[in-house]
Symmetry: C2
Subunit: 230 residues, 2 copies
């Protein structure tokens, strides 16, 4: 954000400096708070991955991020909600907008050809899965022994299912589907799950390209009518 | 085994009693050893599920099974190989024959219609998945912190992939497939994974019947040529 701001123009920066010092300062504080937040999330991602959820204490996360424990609690409430924010950041990526307002999902809705929609969708989702799958695996792995993580995992499953309704509605707007909307949503939910991503890319070593092609072709065969196929 | 043996005929039992006491005694010993083995496996399944792999000691498993720790070590070498045997038992079921020699897999190979083959396959595999998925989840959950379980998990993945070649070869014997054999095997491997079974049946609450129908239809659409579809 700092970079974007400076990039606007030297003149604007100067004007803000001269005329609205309070606004300038509050923006700097926002930027610093954002940087602290990112540092804590990075530190937590490293430590959860190295030591597991239970093995990474808030004290260790704070030390790794170079902030106080109080700062971590003030920003994230507790370790569980920190992990939840880590998943959200992985799914969202660098774009601060909510996922449905981002470029990829909007392009899926805007496209008028079902196969093109699936290609845009898979290209977008694979990047989110690459970032999110390792974090979701931490949640799933620890959810057996930590009841509050089982709740977080259930919420992640439910959120993902709700978000995928957007894809199925967008496909249905361009032509009939082979199956009912509910089954279509659950089929997409299963096939683009972090679990299947880990199996095919992590265990089987598929490249991003191969996984994308397989996903777009498979979803086309499972969801779309034969007649619409190219 | 006791039941089968007695069932053969009273005469045979009598003859064995009179003429070959050593053979009779060695069979009783085999049966007792088998019963002990099953009791230890049952106890381990309960304790791993309740306390996790790390939390269930061999001493606790022995106590729950009513045998000595030495007996457990003599039968299973160590806790990791005990867990491996637990997965094998879950996949194999009550039938002592290796999976490819059991009724379901042989019927898949014998059938001459590809869709019929997929229906036989899914009806057979769903029962194995119901038994195996919880045990595989224990392996996967603990594999992050226990390197030797990561090896076991890798072996389970590899075994499953190898076994599924039998299905794909049997399908290909009855007609062309839509994709190459390797991609067909990896596609089946992903769709009938314990992970996907847990998502659709555990998380989404699908019935066995619904999961079977979805699996047979989905595999048909992904693997078989359109012309062969009913």
């Amino acid at each position: 954000m700092q970079k974007d701001y400076i990039g606007y123009s030297g003149t604007v920066t100067k004007a803000v400096d001269d005329v609205k010092p309070r606004r300038y300062n509050s923006q700097r504080r926002r930027e610093q708070a954002e940087q602290t937040r990112e540092r804590v999330l990075d530190a937590a991602a490293n430590l959860f991955s190295e030591r597991g959820f239970a093995g990474a204490s808030v004290a260790a996360i704070a030390a790794e991020a170079g902030v106080s424990e109080e700062t971590v609690y003030a920003r994230f409430k507790n370790k569980r909600s920190l992990l939840g924010d880590l998943v959200s950041r992985a799914v969202r990526g660098d774009d601060p907008r909510p996922v449905p307002e981002q470029g990829g999902p909007r392009a899926v809705v805007a496209a008028t050809d079902q196969h093109e929609q699936l290609r845009i969708f898979t290209a977008d989702i694979v990047l989110r899965l690459e970032r999110a799958a390792p974090v979701v695996a931490i949640v799933a792995g620890a959810s057996r022994s930590e009841p509050e993580l089982a709740e977080l995992l259930a919420r992640l499953h439910a959120d993902r299912l709700r978000n995928l309704h957007v894809l199925v509605d967008a496909l249905a707007a361009n032509g009939p589907l082979r199956v009912g909307a509910e089954e279509a949503v659950e089929t997409v939910w299963a096939l683009v799950s972090p679990e299947l991503h880990e199996l095919l890319r992590g265990v089987r070593g598929w490249t991003r390209r191969r996984y994308c092609d397989w996903l777009a072709a498979s979803l086309g065969r499972l969801l779309l009518q034969e007649g619409t196929r190219r």
